[in-house]
Protein backbone atom coordinates (compact mmCIF):
# COMPACT_ATOMS: atom_id res chain seq x y z
CA UNK A 1 0.00 0.00 0.00
CA UNK A 2 1.44 3.43 -0.95
CA UNK A 3 1.94 6.01 1.81
CA UNK A 4 0.17 8.70 -0.20
CA UNK A 5 -2.44 7.84 -2.77
CA UNK A 6 -3.97 10.60 -4.89
CA UNK A 7 -6.75 9.65 -7.29
CA UNK A 8 -8.33 11.93 -9.86
CA UNK A 9 -8.02 15.03 -7.62
CA UNK A 10 -10.23 17.86 -8.90
CA UNK A 11 -10.65 21.34 -7.61
CA UNK A 12 -12.22 24.47 -8.99
CA UNK A 13 -12.93 28.02 -7.91
CA UNK A 14 -16.34 28.85 -9.37
CA UNK A 15 -15.82 28.38 -13.14
CA UNK A 16 -12.06 28.04 -13.01
CA UNK A 17 -10.76 24.48 -12.78
CA UNK A 18 -7.37 24.57 -11.07
CA UNK A 19 -6.81 20.82 -10.64
CA UNK A 20 -8.03 18.68 -13.49
CA UNK A 21 -7.76 15.14 -12.22
CA UNK A 22 -4.36 14.57 -10.60
CA UNK A 23 -3.37 10.97 -9.80
CA UNK A 24 -0.14 9.62 -8.38
CA UNK A 25 1.22 7.53 -5.51
CA UNK A 26 4.10 8.10 -3.16
CA UNK A 27 5.66 5.04 -1.58
CA UNK A 28 6.93 4.98 1.97
CA UNK A 29 10.34 6.68 2.11
CA UNK A 30 10.03 8.05 -1.40
CA UNK A 31 10.85 11.67 -2.25
CA UNK A 32 8.69 13.17 -4.98
CA UNK A 33 9.58 16.59 -6.36
CA UNK A 34 6.86 18.57 -8.09
CA UNK A 35 7.98 21.15 -10.65
CA UNK A 36 5.86 23.56 -12.61
CA UNK A 37 5.41 27.20 -13.52
CA UNK A 38 3.51 29.44 -11.12
CA UNK A 39 -0.21 28.99 -11.54
CA UNK A 40 0.24 25.35 -12.53
CA UNK A 41 -1.70 24.22 -9.45
CA UNK A 42 1.22 22.50 -7.70
CA UNK A 43 0.88 24.44 -4.44
CA UNK A 44 -2.88 24.02 -4.47
CA UNK A 45 -2.42 20.28 -4.92
CA UNK A 46 -0.07 20.23 -1.92
CA UNK A 47 -2.51 22.22 0.20
CA UNK A 48 -5.27 19.75 -0.67
CA UNK A 49 -3.21 16.91 0.80
CA UNK A 50 -3.34 18.74 4.12
CA UNK A 51 -6.91 19.87 3.53
CA UNK A 52 -5.99 23.54 3.75
CA UNK A 53 -7.96 23.65 0.50
CA UNK A 54 -11.25 21.91 -0.08
CA UNK A 55 -11.50 19.80 -3.22
CA UNK A 56 -14.56 18.85 -5.18
CA UNK A 57 -13.62 15.57 -6.77
CA UNK A 58 -11.41 12.52 -6.36
CA UNK A 59 -9.71 11.39 -3.18
CA UNK A 60 -6.54 11.45 -1.18
CA UNK A 61 -5.40 8.71 1.18
CA UNK A 62 -2.56 8.90 3.67
CA UNK A 63 -1.46 5.46 4.85
CA UNK A 64 -4.86 4.15 3.77
CA UNK A 65 -6.98 6.83 5.53
CA UNK A 66 -9.16 9.06 3.35
CA UNK A 67 -8.40 12.76 3.86
CA UNK A 68 -11.20 15.28 4.15
CA UNK A 69 -14.09 13.34 2.68
CA UNK A 70 -15.52 9.85 2.87
CA UNK A 71 -17.70 8.22 0.29
CA UNK A 72 -20.71 6.30 1.58
CA UNK A 73 -21.83 3.01 0.07
CA UNK A 74 -24.36 4.84 -2.05
CA UNK A 75 -21.52 6.83 -3.56
CA UNK A 76 -22.40 9.97 -1.66
CA UNK A 77 -19.47 12.22 -0.74
CA UNK A 78 -19.48 13.50 2.81
CA UNK A 79 -17.03 15.82 4.55
CA UNK A 80 -15.43 14.26 7.59
CA UNK A 81 -15.80 15.90 10.97
CA UNK A 82 -13.43 18.76 11.83
CA UNK A 83 -11.94 16.72 14.70
CA UNK A 84 -11.30 13.74 12.40
CA UNK A 85 -9.62 15.91 9.81
CA UNK A 86 -7.51 17.60 12.47
CA UNK A 87 -6.44 14.13 13.57
CA UNK A 88 -5.44 13.25 10.01
CA UNK A 89 -3.51 16.49 9.61
CA UNK A 90 -1.33 15.47 12.56
CA UNK A 91 0.18 12.78 10.34
CA UNK A 92 1.10 15.27 7.63
CA UNK A 93 3.79 17.83 8.35
CA UNK A 94 3.84 20.98 6.25
CA UNK A 95 6.45 23.67 5.69
CA UNK A 96 5.42 26.94 4.07
CA UNK A 97 7.04 29.39 1.69
CA UNK A 98 6.46 32.24 4.17
CA UNK A 99 7.64 30.23 7.23
CA UNK A 100 4.48 31.11 9.18
CA UNK A 101 6.16 30.74 12.54
CA UNK A 102 4.13 31.93 15.52
CA UNK A 103 5.70 35.33 16.28
CA UNK A 104 4.44 35.48 19.87
CA UNK A 105 6.28 32.32 20.88
CA UNK A 106 9.99 31.56 21.17
CA UNK A 107 11.66 29.13 18.81
CA UNK A 108 11.45 26.35 21.39
CA UNK A 109 7.80 27.10 22.13
CA UNK A 110 7.01 27.07 18.41
CA UNK A 111 8.41 23.56 18.10
CA UNK A 112 6.75 22.42 21.33
CA UNK A 113 3.33 23.79 20.47
CA UNK A 114 2.16 20.84 18.37
CA UNK A 115 3.18 18.10 20.80
CA UNK A 116 1.76 20.08 23.73
CA UNK A 117 -1.47 21.47 22.35
CA UNK A 118 -2.40 18.87 19.75
CA UNK A 119 -0.94 15.61 20.97
CA UNK A 120 -1.20 16.42 24.65
CA UNK A 121 2.31 15.15 25.42
CA UNK A 122 3.76 16.03 28.83
CA UNK A 123 5.71 19.29 28.87
CA UNK A 124 9.05 17.76 29.80
CA UNK A 125 8.81 15.16 27.06
CA UNK A 126 7.75 17.76 24.52
CA UNK A 127 10.67 19.97 25.45
CA UNK A 128 13.15 17.11 25.11
CA UNK A 129 11.73 16.28 21.69
CA UNK A 130 11.83 19.93 20.61
CA UNK A 131 15.43 20.33 21.73
CA UNK A 132 16.42 17.19 19.83
CA UNK A 133 14.83 18.55 16.67
CA UNK A 134 16.39 21.99 17.08
CA UNK A 135 19.75 20.28 17.42
CA UNK A 136 19.02 18.34 14.26
CA UNK A 137 18.36 21.54 12.28
CA UNK A 138 21.33 23.22 13.96
CA UNK A 139 19.46 25.85 15.95
CA UNK A 140 19.63 24.67 19.53
CA UNK A 141 21.43 27.88 20.49
CA UNK A 142 18.44 29.93 19.24
CA UNK A 143 15.88 28.04 21.33
CA UNK A 144 14.89 31.01 23.47
CA UNK A 145 14.89 33.65 20.72
CA UNK A 146 11.72 35.02 19.17
CA UNK A 147 11.32 34.29 15.45
CA UNK A 148 11.63 37.97 14.49
CA UNK A 149 15.30 37.84 15.57
CA UNK A 150 16.14 35.00 13.16
CA UNK A 151 17.24 35.11 9.53
CA UNK A 152 14.91 33.68 6.90
CA UNK A 153 16.96 30.52 6.59
CA UNK A 154 16.92 30.01 10.34
CA UNK A 155 13.18 30.65 10.51
CA UNK A 156 12.57 28.09 7.81
CA UNK A 157 14.66 25.49 9.64
CA UNK A 158 12.54 26.13 12.72
CA UNK A 159 9.50 25.64 10.48
CA UNK A 160 10.85 22.22 9.51
CA UNK A 161 11.56 21.32 13.14
CA UNK A 162 8.06 22.43 14.12
CA UNK A 163 6.51 20.17 11.49
CA UNK A 164 8.74 17.24 12.48
CA UNK A 165 7.73 17.64 16.13
CA UNK A 166 4.35 16.15 15.25
CA UNK A 167 6.24 13.00 14.17
CA UNK A 168 4.36 12.95 10.88
CA UNK A 169 4.31 10.07 8.43
CA UNK A 170 4.64 12.47 5.53
CA UNK A 171 6.26 15.88 5.01
CA UNK A 172 5.05 18.47 2.50
CA UNK A 173 7.33 21.33 1.40
CA UNK A 174 5.65 24.26 -0.37
CA UNK A 175 8.33 26.30 -2.16
CA UNK A 176 10.18 26.57 1.11
CA UNK A 177 13.22 28.34 -0.33
CA UNK A 178 11.45 30.80 -2.65
CA UNK A 179 11.28 33.59 -0.07
CA UNK A 180 14.93 33.24 0.96
CA UNK A 181 17.97 35.23 -0.05
CA UNK A 182 20.18 33.04 -2.29
CA UNK A 183 22.89 32.66 0.34
CA UNK A 184 20.38 31.22 2.83
CA UNK A 185 18.91 28.57 0.53
CA UNK A 186 21.69 26.04 1.11
CA UNK A 187 21.19 25.63 4.85
CA UNK A 188 17.53 24.75 4.37
CA UNK A 189 18.15 22.34 1.51
CA UNK A 190 20.81 20.61 3.61
CA UNK A 191 18.26 19.83 6.31
CA UNK A 192 15.79 18.55 3.72
CA UNK A 193 18.44 16.37 2.12
CA UNK A 194 19.24 14.84 5.51
CA UNK A 195 15.56 14.11 6.08
CA UNK A 196 15.35 12.37 2.71
CA UNK A 197 18.36 10.23 3.56
CA UNK A 198 16.72 9.21 6.83
CA UNK A 199 13.82 7.80 4.84
CA UNK A 200 11.10 10.42 5.37
CA UNK A 201 8.27 10.32 2.84
CA UNK A 202 8.26 13.74 1.19
CA UNK A 203 6.53 15.78 -1.47
CA UNK A 204 8.55 18.85 -2.38
CA UNK A 205 7.21 21.68 -4.52
CA UNK A 206 10.20 23.74 -5.63
CA UNK A 207 12.02 25.57 -8.39
CA UNK A 208 15.43 24.19 -7.35
CA UNK A 209 16.00 21.83 -10.25
CA UNK A 210 19.47 20.84 -9.15
CA UNK A 211 18.15 19.84 -5.76
CA UNK A 212 15.30 17.96 -7.43
CA UNK A 213 17.74 15.86 -9.44
CA UNK A 214 19.96 15.16 -6.43
CA UNK A 215 17.37 14.34 -3.82
CA UNK A 216 14.23 13.36 -5.71
CA UNK A 217 13.38 9.73 -6.41
CA UNK A 218 10.85 10.92 -8.92
CA UNK A 219 9.94 14.21 -10.58
CA UNK A 220 6.43 15.27 -11.52
CA UNK A 221 5.97 18.19 -13.88
CA UNK A 222 2.63 19.95 -13.64
CA UNK A 223 1.10 22.62 -15.81
CA UNK A 224 -2.41 24.06 -16.10
CA UNK A 225 -3.69 21.86 -13.28
CA UNK A 226 -2.57 18.54 -14.74
CA UNK A 227 0.47 16.24 -14.64
CA UNK A 228 2.35 16.62 -17.91
CA UNK A 229 5.33 14.35 -17.35
CA UNK A 230 6.75 12.19 -14.58
CA UNK A 231 9.69 9.90 -14.08
CA UNK A 232 13.08 9.42 -12.43
CA UNK A 233 15.08 12.68 -12.37
CA UNK A 234 17.94 11.54 -14.55
CA UNK A 235 15.68 10.49 -17.43
CA UNK A 236 13.10 13.17 -17.29
CA UNK A 237 15.51 16.11 -16.91
CA UNK A 238 17.82 14.88 -19.65
CA UNK A 239 15.01 14.03 -22.09
CA UNK A 240 12.01 16.26 -21.52
CA UNK A 241 9.29 15.19 -23.95
CA UNK A 242 6.70 17.96 -23.89
CA UNK A 243 7.36 21.48 -25.16
CA UNK A 244 6.03 22.95 -21.96
CA UNK A 245 8.53 21.08 -19.81
CA UNK A 246 11.36 21.98 -22.20
CA UNK A 247 10.33 25.61 -21.98
CA UNK A 248 10.15 25.43 -18.18
CA UNK A 249 13.61 23.86 -17.95
CA UNK A 250 15.03 26.47 -20.32
CA UNK A 251 13.69 29.26 -18.10
CA UNK A 252 15.24 27.74 -15.00
CA UNK A 253 18.30 26.50 -16.86
CA UNK A 254 20.33 29.30 -15.29
CA UNK A 255 19.67 27.94 -11.84
CA UNK A 256 20.32 24.43 -13.07
CA UNK A 257 23.75 25.23 -14.52
CA UNK A 258 24.87 27.54 -11.73
CA UNK A 259 24.49 25.10 -8.91
Amino acid sequence: MPMIEIRDLRKSYAELEVLKGISFDVEKGEVVVVLGPSGSGKSTMLRCINLLEEFQGGGIRIDGEAIGYTTTEGGKRRRRKEAENAKLREQVGMVFQSFNLFPHRTVLQNVMMGPLKVKGIARREAEALARDLLKKVGLLDKADQYPARLSGGQQQRVGIARALAMQPKVMLFDEVTSALDPELVGEVLRVMRQLAQEGMTMIIVTHEIHFARDVGDRIIFMDHGAIVEEGPPANILANPKSDRFKQFLRRYQGDYLDT
Partner: protein
Protein backbone atom coordinates in the same frame (compact mmCIF):
# COMPACT_ATOMS: atom_id res chain seq x y z
CA UNK B 1 4.22 85.77 43.78
CA UNK B 2 0.90 86.91 45.12
CA UNK B 3 -0.81 84.65 42.65
CA UNK B 4 1.24 81.67 43.81
CA UNK B 5 0.50 82.28 47.49
CA UNK B 6 -3.13 82.76 46.69
CA UNK B 7 -3.14 79.60 44.55
CA UNK B 8 -1.62 77.47 47.28
CA UNK B 9 -4.04 78.88 49.84
CA UNK B 10 -7.01 77.96 47.68
CA UNK B 11 -5.62 74.51 46.93
CA UNK B 12 -5.04 73.89 50.64
CA UNK B 13 -8.59 74.88 51.38
CA UNK B 14 -9.94 72.64 48.64
CA UNK B 15 -7.68 69.72 49.46
CA UNK B 16 -10.28 67.50 51.21
CA UNK B 17 -12.88 67.91 48.47
CA UNK B 18 -10.28 67.39 45.74
CA UNK B 19 -9.20 64.15 47.37
CA UNK B 20 -12.74 62.88 47.69
CA UNK B 21 -13.57 63.92 44.11
CA UNK B 22 -10.44 62.18 42.88
CA UNK B 23 -11.40 59.05 44.80
CA UNK B 24 -14.84 59.03 43.16
CA UNK B 25 -13.37 59.55 39.69
CA UNK B 26 -10.94 56.68 40.22
CA UNK B 27 -13.72 54.48 41.58
CA UNK B 28 -15.91 55.09 38.53
CA UNK B 29 -12.99 54.28 36.23
CA UNK B 30 -11.94 51.18 38.16
CA UNK B 31 -15.51 49.88 38.16
CA UNK B 32 -16.18 50.65 34.50
CA UNK B 33 -12.89 49.39 33.01
CA UNK B 34 -13.25 45.68 33.86
CA UNK B 35 -16.95 45.79 32.95
CA UNK B 36 -16.17 47.30 29.56
CA UNK B 37 -13.32 44.88 28.84
CA UNK B 38 -15.49 41.89 29.80
CA UNK B 39 -18.54 43.20 27.97
CA UNK B 40 -16.48 43.49 24.80
CA UNK B 41 -15.16 39.98 25.37
CA UNK B 42 -18.76 38.81 25.38
CA UNK B 43 -19.79 40.86 22.34
CA UNK B 44 -16.89 39.95 20.06
CA UNK B 45 -17.51 36.21 19.58
CA UNK B 46 -21.25 36.82 19.18
CA UNK B 47 -20.53 39.48 16.56
CA UNK B 48 -17.94 37.40 14.71
CA UNK B 49 -19.20 33.85 14.90
CA UNK B 50 -22.82 34.06 16.06
CA UNK B 51 -25.66 32.99 13.77
CA UNK B 52 -27.13 35.62 11.48
CA UNK B 53 -29.67 36.89 14.02
CA UNK B 54 -27.12 37.18 16.84
CA UNK B 55 -24.70 38.81 14.40
CA UNK B 56 -27.31 41.39 13.43
CA UNK B 57 -28.39 42.12 17.01
CA UNK B 58 -24.85 42.57 18.35
CA UNK B 59 -23.99 44.63 15.27
CA UNK B 60 -26.95 46.91 15.87
CA UNK B 61 -26.01 47.30 19.54
CA UNK B 62 -22.41 48.17 18.71
CA UNK B 63 -23.35 50.67 16.02
CA UNK B 64 -26.01 52.32 18.16
CA UNK B 65 -23.60 52.70 21.07
CA UNK B 66 -20.84 54.07 18.85
CA UNK B 67 -23.04 56.60 17.09
CA UNK B 68 -24.95 58.18 19.96
CA UNK B 69 -23.64 60.46 22.73
CA UNK B 70 -22.53 58.83 25.97
CA UNK B 71 -24.36 61.54 27.91
CA UNK B 72 -27.69 60.36 26.49
CA UNK B 73 -26.86 56.74 27.20
CA UNK B 74 -26.24 57.67 30.82
CA UNK B 75 -29.49 59.68 30.92
CA UNK B 76 -31.38 56.76 29.43
CA UNK B 77 -30.16 54.49 32.21
CA UNK B 78 -30.55 57.05 34.97
CA UNK B 79 -34.03 58.27 34.02
CA UNK B 80 -35.20 55.06 32.33
CA UNK B 81 -34.48 52.32 34.86
CA UNK B 82 -36.83 53.81 37.52
CA UNK B 83 -39.70 53.27 35.05
CA UNK B 84 -38.84 49.57 35.22
CA UNK B 85 -38.88 49.66 39.00
CA UNK B 86 -35.08 49.66 39.28
CA UNK B 87 -33.35 52.33 41.33
CA UNK B 88 -29.58 51.95 41.02
CA UNK B 89 -27.44 54.73 42.52
CA UNK B 90 -26.21 57.60 40.35
CA UNK B 91 -22.77 56.07 40.65
CA UNK B 92 -23.98 52.72 39.29
CA UNK B 93 -25.89 54.38 36.44
CA UNK B 94 -22.76 56.23 35.41
CA UNK B 95 -20.60 53.11 35.59
CA UNK B 96 -23.08 51.04 33.58
CA UNK B 97 -23.48 53.72 30.91
CA UNK B 98 -19.74 54.20 30.49
CA UNK B 99 -19.08 50.46 30.44
CA UNK B 100 -21.83 49.84 27.87
CA UNK B 101 -20.51 52.38 25.39
CA UNK B 102 -16.86 51.50 25.80
CA UNK B 103 -17.64 47.79 25.52
CA UNK B 104 -18.97 48.55 22.03
CA UNK B 105 -15.81 50.44 21.03
CA UNK B 106 -13.58 47.77 22.57
CA UNK B 107 -15.50 45.01 20.79
CA UNK B 108 -14.63 46.65 17.47
CA UNK B 109 -10.98 46.83 18.54
CA UNK B 110 -10.98 43.14 19.50
CA UNK B 111 -12.57 42.18 16.20
CA UNK B 112 -10.10 44.28 14.24
CA UNK B 113 -7.24 42.58 16.06
CA UNK B 114 -8.47 39.07 15.33
CA UNK B 115 -9.17 39.88 11.69
CA UNK B 116 -5.72 41.40 11.29
CA UNK B 117 -3.98 38.09 11.94
CA UNK B 118 -3.00 36.63 8.60
CA UNK B 119 -4.69 33.57 7.11
CA UNK B 120 -1.23 32.00 6.99
CA UNK B 121 -1.18 31.74 10.77
CA UNK B 122 -4.47 29.83 10.60
CA UNK B 123 -2.97 27.61 7.88
CA UNK B 124 0.14 26.86 9.91
CA UNK B 125 -1.89 26.05 13.01
CA UNK B 126 -4.39 23.84 11.20
CA UNK B 127 -1.63 22.10 9.24
CA UNK B 128 -0.29 20.93 12.61
CA UNK B 129 -3.61 19.28 13.34
CA UNK B 130 -5.05 21.99 15.55
CA UNK B 131 -8.82 22.26 15.60
CA UNK B 132 -10.37 25.69 15.00
CA UNK B 133 -10.76 26.28 18.72
CA UNK B 134 -7.23 25.19 19.60
CA UNK B 135 -5.78 27.38 16.85
CA UNK B 136 -7.86 30.35 17.99
CA UNK B 137 -6.79 29.97 21.60
CA UNK B 138 -3.11 29.23 21.13
CA UNK B 139 -2.18 31.00 17.93
CA UNK B 140 -4.65 33.69 16.90
CA UNK B 141 -5.86 35.25 20.15
CA UNK B 142 -2.44 35.72 21.78
CA UNK B 143 -1.17 37.52 18.69
CA UNK B 144 -4.32 39.61 18.34
CA UNK B 145 -4.05 40.48 22.03
CA UNK B 146 -0.53 41.82 21.61
CA UNK B 147 -1.48 43.77 18.53
CA UNK B 148 -4.41 45.58 20.16
CA UNK B 149 -2.64 46.59 23.36
CA UNK B 150 -2.08 50.10 22.01
CA UNK B 151 -5.64 50.74 20.79
CA UNK B 152 -7.08 49.31 24.03
CA UNK B 153 -4.84 51.65 26.01
CA UNK B 154 -6.07 54.66 24.01
CA UNK B 155 -9.66 53.60 24.56
CA UNK B 156 -9.13 53.27 28.31
CA UNK B 157 -7.68 56.78 28.47
CA UNK B 158 -10.81 58.05 26.72
CA UNK B 159 -12.85 56.08 29.25
CA UNK B 160 -11.07 57.74 32.17
CA UNK B 161 -11.87 61.16 30.71
CA UNK B 162 -15.47 60.11 30.07
CA UNK B 163 -15.95 59.42 33.76
CA UNK B 164 -16.42 63.21 34.11
CA UNK B 165 -19.89 62.75 32.58
CA UNK B 166 -21.16 61.18 35.80
CA UNK B 167 -21.19 64.73 37.17
CA UNK B 168 -24.14 65.38 34.85
CA UNK B 169 -26.31 63.04 36.93
CA UNK B 170 -25.10 64.40 40.25
CA UNK B 171 -22.17 62.17 41.17
CA UNK B 172 -19.65 64.29 43.06
CA UNK B 173 -16.55 63.35 41.11
CA UNK B 174 -13.56 65.53 40.37
CA UNK B 175 -15.40 67.52 37.70
CA UNK B 176 -18.35 68.12 40.00
CA UNK B 177 -16.01 69.21 42.80
CA UNK B 178 -14.49 71.71 40.38
CA UNK B 179 -17.84 73.06 39.24
CA UNK B 180 -19.23 73.42 42.75
CA UNK B 181 -16.03 74.97 44.09
CA UNK B 182 -15.86 77.52 41.29
CA UNK B 183 -19.39 78.60 42.04
CA UNK B 184 -18.94 78.62 45.80
CA UNK B 185 -15.56 80.33 46.03
CA UNK B 186 -16.01 82.53 42.96
CA UNK B 187 -12.47 81.84 41.76
CA UNK B 188 -12.04 80.15 38.42
CA UNK B 189 -8.48 79.81 37.23
CA UNK B 190 -6.95 78.45 40.44
CA UNK B 191 -9.57 75.75 40.79
CA UNK B 192 -9.54 74.89 37.12
CA UNK B 193 -5.76 74.47 37.31
CA UNK B 194 -6.07 72.03 40.19
CA UNK B 195 -8.71 69.92 38.47
CA UNK B 196 -6.94 70.00 35.13
CA UNK B 197 -3.60 69.01 36.66
CA UNK B 198 -5.14 66.04 38.46
CA UNK B 199 -6.83 64.77 35.29
CA UNK B 200 -3.65 65.37 33.33
CA UNK B 201 -1.59 63.42 35.86
CA UNK B 202 -4.11 60.59 35.76
CA UNK B 203 -4.34 60.23 31.97
CA UNK B 204 -0.64 60.99 31.52
CA UNK B 205 0.39 58.31 33.99
CA UNK B 206 -2.00 55.78 32.50
CA UNK B 207 -0.68 56.59 29.03
CA UNK B 208 2.94 56.24 30.13
CA UNK B 209 2.33 52.89 31.82
CA UNK B 210 0.48 51.54 28.79
CA UNK B 211 3.23 52.68 26.44
CA UNK B 212 5.89 50.97 28.54
CA UNK B 213 3.93 47.72 28.57
CA UNK B 214 3.34 47.93 24.84
CA UNK B 215 7.00 48.61 24.07
CA UNK B 216 8.19 45.74 26.30
CA UNK B 217 5.90 43.27 24.62
CA UNK B 218 6.41 44.43 21.06
CA UNK B 219 10.18 44.59 21.17
CA UNK B 220 10.29 40.90 22.05
CA UNK B 221 8.25 39.71 19.13
CA UNK B 222 9.25 42.41 16.63
Amino acid sequence: MDFLVNLLAIWARLYPSLVSGFAVTISVALAAIPLALLGALLLTPLRMWGGSIIHAVTGAYIEFMRNTPLLLQIYLIYFGLPLLGLYPSEFMCGVIGIAMQHAAFLAEIYRGGIESISQRQWDAARAMGMTWATALRNVILPQAGLRILGPIGNQLIILVKDTSLVSAIGVVDLTMVGKVSIERLAVTLEIFLAIALIYLALTGALGAVLRIIERRVLERIG
